[in-house]
Symmetry: C2
Subunit: 387 residues, 2 copies
């Protein structure tokens, strides 16, 4: 999508590859929304570190980063010995896999690249195929998001007020995003609408990343405290809810997503407001039989007990400070602790529809429609650490 | 309630009066939870400024502060001329009334003090009666909270997990509080329970004030993001919800309270978890016929866009900084705005019971029980700016 840099709107992807430098180019997401910067990772170890350190985050984005990282590592190999090359690629694979051990996307993406490399006869051929496969992986990620946008845009009518939660936007993918895709597509079709970005405490991805995306894309929006969604629904100020998902159960239609999603779904059902979940096919779990069995990650309590931001110098004097000084402030009582579940599970009965690249389905119909939805029999999707 | 100062637990009220100094003693609430300090206001203008600047906040607390402030102003008068005295008292009244023009408690409290002063024959007698009335006002505030505690404690059983929202604790009153009163009473009865303090974005009174109270009182508690309440209810981790109220409609049982209260009530109803509201009689509005007519204050968007706290020096180096440096950090995207409704309205159907000093009632029965609940015919309660 577009970012305004020095007054000029330019197109950027979250992840791209620079062949000349053999580098992966990433939007440095830890600096957002206060600073926009592209970083180039000079080698596969730096690419792995970028995943570990969360310069890049989000299901599709870390998948593509790992795919490019594997190609980057393969291309850096000097020599013609296929055995040595294979051993080198295996090292690259392991380093990238361990960059974020609980995430499934990098592994799936790299397996895809390896599969495409194997027909290559020579080292050079395999290097070529690796990069082609990584580019294809990224292209498909974009295409799936475009298809989600095409289907989802039909739900958006002129004048609508839409609520979203967390960031399932283009920063979480290679481009366009999932929950945001219908909005970007509707904007291209000339529709007028307004989006409320739920702040999404404790990590505030709605207030930081999603709001930043909308500001860059010139989509009319406002941030709200998570507490305000119920009141706005009660007063008729929300017409539609669209969120993303980290894992959707193909057998039950239950949706795992960022903590607070369930609350929004309960509120929407009470107010008879349509509640949609936008997902790429890779997040459908065809194995698990009930959402209650999904382990919910308990995250560090410091997230709940404080907040990260930029010190506002107009309200606070710091000697010799730079204009934009990032800080963590402890908000809560210093002797209190916190509970911090990272995700929650929304039952199918609260979900109006699931927007997929293959169309919009009732959550209860996913299993019946599994042949259209990439059902592959044996599969193991673990809970993504989307943040 | 008790505060541990230099390792020793001592009893403090939010508001008291020092006769020797003719000063109002207040807990400096803006420094909480990071620092505990008592401030003495040397004259009624300083007392009014303490209300304006929110050194003291909360319905009962600002009522008692204004009552004491009026007595303080009256006591400062030198002379015997009743006319000059009356003119002086009128000035004091106006200054204190204008300290927070939209709040109703200071006015009600001062009217009460004036009514008790009027039988006095001399200036000295009226001065004496003013202070006696202010002390009585504060004593009654405490007594009402104790009665709420006595009734509400019956709802708390051993091993319960309770959710509360915002701060309707002793810091909002002279002592004990309303939503917290049942918990403090149950603790005295030796019951074991655990409280989840909803953070209460955007101003975080749950994470700051309520958690501080519980830490001082040694009540087992944890802070949660507002987003986490639904998940905890779904997993069976919440047995009871008790919140306060800024205005309860006597005719309909609808409850106005801090933004996010409605969401908790909707969630509790879905999970069949009892949802109680604890209120002093002064917050019942007997006039208004529907909650939809209550104007909802739209507060400054900076509250949603950032957070106040203490800079954590372990994570952030500031040259020459003091250990506890308070700062506002901008969390949100710098080019985005916010909506910030301060309150919401919960319908009676979602409320299990209203805990009052006169007992626990179904919200739909308040009107029928109005003779027990201080119904006084004509009355005008405006929305309190409880924060």
């Amino acid at each position: 999508m577009n970012v305004t840099v020095r007054g000029r709107s330019q197109h950027f992807r979250t992840v791209t590859f620079d062949r000349a430098q053999n580098a992966v180019l990433l939007i440095e997401q830890r600096l957002l929304p206060h600073e926009f910067k592209i970083v180039a990772t000079p080698d596969f170890r730096a690419t792995a570190a970028a995943i570990t350190d969360m310069i890049v985050r989000g299901a599709g984005a870390i998948g593509a980063t790992a795919a490019y990282g594997l190609a980057q590592g393969a291309l850096a190999f000097r020599g013609r010995d296929p055995k040595k090359f294979s051993a080198h690629v295996e090292t690259v694979y392991q380093v990238l896999k361990n960059a974020r051990p609980t995430a499934v996307d990098p592994v799936n993406a790299m397996n895809d690249v390896r599969r495409h490399m194997s027909p290559g006869q020579t080292v050079a051929e395999r290097q070529f195929l690796a990069l082609a496969a990584a580019e294809e992986f990224a292209r498909e990620d974009v295409q799936h998001c475009e298809e989600i946008g095409r289907h989802g845009a039909k739900l958006i009518r002129n004048g609508m007020k839409i609520l979203t939660h967390c960031n399932a936007g283009w920063l979480a993918f290679v481009d366009i995003g999932t929950a945001t895709a219908p909005m970007y597509a509707a904007q291209e079709q000339g529709k007028q609408f307004h989006v409320f970005c739920g702040e999404t405490r404790p990590r505030s991805q709605g207030a930081t990343l999603t709001a930043w995306e909308f500001a860059q894309q010139k989509i009319s929006h406002q941030i709200i405290a998570d507490n305000a969604a119920g009141h706005l629904m009660q007063r008729g100020e929300i017409d539609l809810v669209i969120v993303g998902s980290d894992r959707t159960l193909g057998r039950t239609g239950e949706v795992t997503n960022k903590i607070g999603t369930y609350t929004k779904a309960v509120l929407a059902a009470r107010h008879k407001i349509p509640f949609y979940v936008a997902i790429p096919l890779s997040t459908i779990d065809w194995n698990l039989k009930r959402g209650f069995d999904i382990p919910i990650e308990e995250r560090n309590e410091s997230e709940v007990l404080g907040a990260w931001g930029v010190i506002d110098n107009s309200k606070f004097k710091i000697q010799n400070s730079k204009l934009k000084q990032r800080a963590y402030v402890r908000v809560a009582n210093p002797t209190s602790g916190a509970r911090n579940p990272g995700f929650d599970v929304t039952p199918a009965e609260l979900i109006t529809g699931v927007i997929t690249p293959a169309g919009i389905f009732k959550p209860q119909e996913l299993w019946k429609q599994r042949s259209k939805l990439g059902f592959g029999g044996q599969q193991s999707v673990r809970l993504r650490n989307l943040t």
